[in-house]
Amino acid sequence: MGRTLADKVYDAHVVRRAEGEPDLLYIDLHLVHEVTSPQAFDGLRLAGRTVRRPDLTIATEDHNVPTQNLLAPIADPVSRTQVETLRKNAAEFGVRLHPMGDDGQGIVHVIGPQLGLTQPGMTVVCGDSHTSTHGAFGALAFGIGTSEVEHVLATQTLPQVKPKTMAITVNGELPEGVTAKDLILAVIARIGTGGGQGYIIEYRGEAIRSLSMEGRMTVCNMSIEAGARAGMIAPDETTFAYLKGRPHAPQGAEWDAAVAYWKSLRTDDDAVFDKEVVIDAATLTPFVTWGTNPGQGLPLGESVPDPASFADPVERQAAERALEYMGLTAGTPLRDIEVDTVFVGSCTNGRIEDLRAVAEVLRGRKVADGVRMLVVPGSMKVKAQAQAEGLDEVFKAAGADWREAGCSMCLAMNPDKLAAGERSASTSNRNFEGRQGPGGRTHLVSPAVAAATAVTGRLAAPADL
């Protein structure tokens, strides 16, 4: 029987397989950041262990870092200690680190692909659930906890039980104005936040094939919001073109050998998935969330749902709670919802293409009075490129705040936060209660919708302007 893409990548990394035990899986790339690593390095130290493959490990500072005044010490002493701890650990264990201010610094899931370190067929892990982003290259990439971070540091492997596979096929073409973010929000609304539990999702079909690498990363990034372990897309010419010439991509004869192998990384025609979902791209429209989990979303043209309309009592109760937290009334058209803040950034939508999409809408327009707009590049490289293209001027002219790279208001561990009761349209991936600051209310949107919303002050698509 044929094998799926996920099977092929998984099987190629099994170090050891024994009856009644999990497989031991080799890890090709381990990404590290300041939040989930200190206790892991401590564990190594306590046990007198070393990092087995520092040359397959890379660290960056992203979650805590301020996006202003990089040269000043971090004001929050606890954040500062965490960042300094990573610096100490990286030096002690010989791990390459991109610290704040370094031109290679950025969100962990933005810098791996940018450096060409994320390649098809690899296994990639990080103590961060959005590691699924790297699956856009046809890598098997998933988030792990701190105990597992320590395990990978010590052994370069992980005990794993092979997940099941799910195919999400998106046929046809995305209509004009509908983006990768709208697509994945619609997928999560359809299968639910638990729909992917225990699965590796492979996204396939014409609409996926025609996405850029940035768009594919956006889709794979949010696989975890559907509960999936990982999301993957088979590598193709788009993937190869993105990788070619990147600092860590293979060169010369190695490149040819790599591409020949990468081309074999596709699901065989006779392979069978454990579950299949088919979506017609033509039915999709700009999509936004109204609730407090990423599955609580609707097309922008709809209204806040009535909790009574949910047949499932658990969903009904969740909707009631969500409306209360979000301060929304059933029946309100989504387009009537006013926001205080617009956040553009994160590992979901903080790449150059996202910033271009925002600039395109903002050019010649102004951010509405009373709306604060933050544009935070995913990495210092993205920042430099945006500035080289003059995008920063467009943002500033419109009245948006142009910042340094980091996770920023995606999780509000740095000074960028929503105040209690404030409402945002955000290009990030989580609308959980308090995610962008205690009491803050989040609507997840695409970069284009974020930009249009900034202009009108209410949830809007560029077509509304």
């Binding site: 200690t81 906890g145 492997t157 509960g227 490149w255 192998y261 561990m413």
Partner: protein
């Protein structure tokens, strides 16, 4: 890790679905670099509400959390497990768990128990009607007992064995260091290094 064999304690009914790890421990608590002190952050936003179940005196000292479906979704933060354990929980019972949370729990010795929604609901009701109800989570027998309910749960043999013995994964893996070295010799030459 802490071994888990049989635990008897009182249950706290958490009647919410999709309790993501951001709720279990909000991001502000993740800045600590130590492994202790996370109990203060457990559900810290919700605990500001005096009516929140953990604030009710009748549930003080309870050690089994009985939660709604999709408990522990979202962020990979193992701090969520540390917070639950340090607060005093030994097991969480729910109809479904987020994958990473469940995995993290089994690494630390916090037992995630999957039971059908009706059974979880019945246990929640029992803990509400009589907060003194004792529940036994028996990993040996793969069974939850209490409030007149006996419910079998599934857990794979290997994870169960590791939990029963309280074994640390790294030590187990290092016994296969030769296999890892052999695998490394066969890796493709084009694979990237970070250095």
């Amino acid at each position: 890790m802490e071994a888990f064999t049989v635990h008897t304690g009182r249950g706290v009914p958490l009647r919410r679905s999709n309790v993501d790890t951001d709720q279990i421990i909000p991001a502000v608590w993740l800045k600590q670099v130590s492994r202790t002190g996370f109990e203060k952050g457990l559900f810290s936003a919700w605990r500001e509400d005096p009516s929140f179940v953990l604030n009710q005196p009748q549930y003080e000292g309870a050690s089994i959390l009985i939660a709604g479906p999709d408990f522990g979704t979202g962020s990979s933060r193992e701090h969520a497990v540390w917070a639950l354990q340090q607060y005093g929980f030994r097991a969480v019972i729910a109809p479904r768990f987020g994958d990473i949370f469940r995995n993290n729990s089994t690494k630390m010795g916090l037992l995630p128990v999957v039971l059908p929604a009706e059974t979880v609901e019945a246990l929640q009701r029992a803990a509400e009607q009589d907060p003194a109800t004792e529940i036994t989570v028996d990993l040996q027998a793969r069974e939850v007992r209490g409030a007149g309910i006996t419910a079998a749960f599934e857990i794979d043999d290997y994870t169960r064995w590791r939990l029963l013995e309280g074994l640390d994964d790294i030590g187990l893996t290092l016994r296969h260091a030769d296999d890892i070295t052999a695998f490394e010799q066969g890796r493709a030459s084009w694979l990237p290094v970070t250095t």
